[in-house]
């Protein structure tokens, strides 16, 4: 990996508005290291694609500056930025063969014929489509077309490659396979990739860091594990993975942990992350897999009564909806193994979790 100070892409106070009134991107700041795989993740309309388009040069930034390798690029037209791009609909030129598609960026750069052919062949071999140079895009399957699009975006050795939901049109199995392929290409070529998706598992699988977008603002920018284990606000906690929310009022806080009185009166100890203060409302976030059923006495600092409302059999685990602290949408995952007690709907059980796994976040409702 390159040194931590090697910044290739920098967004500085970037804002974007299409109509002059509503900001789709509000004060976006980002430093992207050379060789990094950074994913912008968020619901549709959150501004992630707009950021990508601003970097590619297809949308001007309303305010702020974007730097590529230290140079401001706001006034550089897209075709002079040297940034590769993969589109969701592949955007292969239908009147050219696969080989001609890959050769096009090299031709544009005035590269000789033999050199072009060699590079095209190498790029196609990289995506395991070495024999497809003479096919036309119309004769390819979705997965093959997307591989060609990836190869085309890399064939001219760009420093940065942007991918705008490239796997969105593929079916689930193919999507997973392509995720690994793109990840391996990234590792082998040490190219810098900025990736846009609304699929969180895609983001977690491939990225070095993930920027979670909502409402034009980056809610959290962190490596995948940190994002999942240590969300800093309720939106991120909800958006990444399954999450249980419990609402309550803060009774006391000591900087490390805080005591929260849930709406039904029970008290919960949680890790203090981002709260307004004693007496204010807070949202507690807890991952379903961190909740234990019938824990040993003294094992956890949080022990509550719960009622199983609904059991959904999912093969490797049983997703159980429970009533806890007055919330009837509390989910826990019970592994499908011999060690675990069998529950039936309507059972009352003890559940418990560690205050370390329960994070007190901002009081959004």
């Amino acid at each position: 990996m390159p040194s931590a100070n090697d910044i290739l892409v920098r967004f500085e106070n970037v804002q974007k508005s299409y109509d002059g009134e509503i900001l789709v991107v509000k004060d976006f700041n980002l430093d992207m290291e050379r060789g990094e795989f950074l994913t912008m993740l968020g619901p549709s309309g959150s501004g992630k694609t707009t950021c990508l388009m601003m970097l590619a040069g297809f949308e001007p930034a309303t305010h702020g500056e974007i730097f590529l390798d230290g140079q401001p690029i706001n006034r550089v037209p897209p075709h002079k930025r040297g940034i590769g791009m993969v589109f969701q609909n592949y955007a292969l030129f239908p009147h050219m063969t696969v080989g001609e598609n890959l050769s096009f960026p090299l031709e544009v750069r005035g590269m000789g014929k033999s050199e072009r052919e060699e590079k095209v062949k190498r790029a196609l071999d990289m995506v395991q489509l070495g024999d497809f140079a003479n096919r036309r895009p119309g004769q390819l399957s979705g997965g093959q077309a997307q591989r060609v699009a990836v190869a085309r975006s890399l064939v001219f050795d760009p420093e940065v490659v942007l991918m705008d939901e490239p796997l969105g049109a593929l079916d689930k199995n193919l999507r997973e396979q392509m995720q690994y392929e793109i990840k391996h290409i990234h590792e082998n070529l040490e190219v810098t990739i900025m990736y846009v998706t609304h699929d969180q598992s895609e983001a977690l699988t491939m990225s070095n860091r993930v920027a979670v977008f909502d409402d034009g603002v980056v809610q959290q920018l962190a490596p995948p594990d940190e994002l999942y284990e240590q969300p800093t606000n309720a939106f991120v906690a909800d958006f990444i993975g399954d999450n249980n929310r419990l609402l309550g009022t803060i009774l006391s806080a000591d900087g490390e942990t805080c005591r929260v009185k849930a709406d039904d009166g029970s008290e919960i100890i949680a890790k203090q992350i981002n709260i307004a203060g004693v007496g204010e409302r807070a949202t507690l976030s807890l991952r379903p897999e961190r909740v234990a059923v019938n824990p040993e006495p003294g094992q956890f600092d949080n022990n509550l009564q719960a009622k199983a409302l609904e059991l959904i059999y999912l093969g490797d685990h049983i997703r159980t909806r429970m009533e806890v602290c007055g919330h009837d949408d509390f989910i826990i995952k019970i592994p499908n193994s011999a060690l675990h007690a069998q529950l039936s709907e309507g059972d009352n059980v003890n559940i418990g979790w560690s205050s370390n796994d329960c994070r007190a976040l901002d009081p959004t409702d």
Partner: protein
């Protein structure tokens, strides 16, 4: 279009009635054209079937009207005029119409509907009004009675057809292709010639065909804007019908019909081949 097994009696009756209606409409459209063929071989200088023709007597038929067409210098000049005018007005209207369609397809283009309406207006305004307007306007410019005048007038009439067909092609045009080309380092000019032009060619060919036919068939405007030197085939036929009733007109009509069929077939084949080569339709 076979009837499904569950069709009721009513549906069956309607099915055959519908077929009959289709056949009648088809006949209504095609018979006036087909009737020209035998009449153009009429040995008598009439536009009617003679008893000899109906009896299929060889003496009732002749090819002399065709001979007259090919030997008459007036007709030959009309053919040359028609083809020259049609080719040049097709080139002009295809060029201008394609550019207009490209401009109108840009999403940031202002007053799109109004400008489109204006461009289409030659199709909507009664021909006689356009023709009269052009007559006065072109007379002022000294274009009345010149080939250039007629070519420009026909180009104006034919442009809407090109605008419409090319616009229709551009509706299906994937703009991420031009973005992809830009990301690959291609300048807007190169992208236009390497990506956009090849992909809209089938639409341009169709538009050019309509433009050619528009000019080739046109009689009203050419009567106003042209003079004797710009006599085209439709003009010669029109005056032929009024002045001397001669089946040469029928012979010309037959030749024109065959020419049109060949032209249409060729262009359509060219267009399909082009589409296939561009990978726009399945092989």
């Amino acid at each position: 279009m076979a009837l499904p097994l569950h069709a009721t009696t009513g549906e069956r009756i309607w099915h055959y009635t519908f077929l009959l209606i289709c056949v009648l409409i088809f006949g209504f459209l095609i018979i006036p054209i087909l009737i020209i063929f035998p009449l153009s071989f009429n040995a008598q200088p009439y536009f009617t079937f003679t008893p000899e023709m109906l009896a299929l007597d060889p003496a009732g038929y002749t090819t002399k009207w065709y001979g007259e067409f090919f030997s008459s210098s007036t007709w030959q000049r009309a053919v040359r005029n028609s083809i020259t005018i049609a080719i040049f007005s097709t080139l002009i209207s295809t060029f201008l119409g394609t550019l207009a369609a490209l401009g109108l397809s840009r999403k940031e283009f202002p007053y799109k509907t109004a400008i489109m309406g204006l461009l289409i207006s030659p199709m909507v305004v009664p021909l006689i009004i356009s023709a009269a307007g052009m007559f006065f306007f072109y007379s002022r410019l000294g274009l009345q009675g010149t080939h250039i005048g007629v070519i420009l007038a026909h180009a104006a009439l034919a442009s809407p057809f090109v605008v419409i067909t090319v616009t229709a092609t551009l509706v299906g045009f994937d703009h991420s292709l031009t973005m992809a080309a830009a990301s690959l380092g291609s300048s807007p000019t190169r992208t236009f010639f390497r990506i956009t032009v090849p992909l809209i060619t089938p639409g341009v060919i169709s538009g050019a065909l309509f433009a050619f036919i528009t000019s080739f068939d046109e009689v009203v405007v050419v009567l106003f804007v042209g003079s004797v030197n710009q006599r085209t085939i439709p003009w010669a036929m029109f005056s032929g019908i009024r002045e001397q009733i001669s089946p040469t007109i029928l012979a010309v009509a037959t030749i024109l019909i065959i020419f049109s069929i060949i032209l249409l077939t060729m262009i359509e084949m060219l267009r399909r081949r082009n589409e296939r080569m561009r990978g726009l339709s399945a092989a």
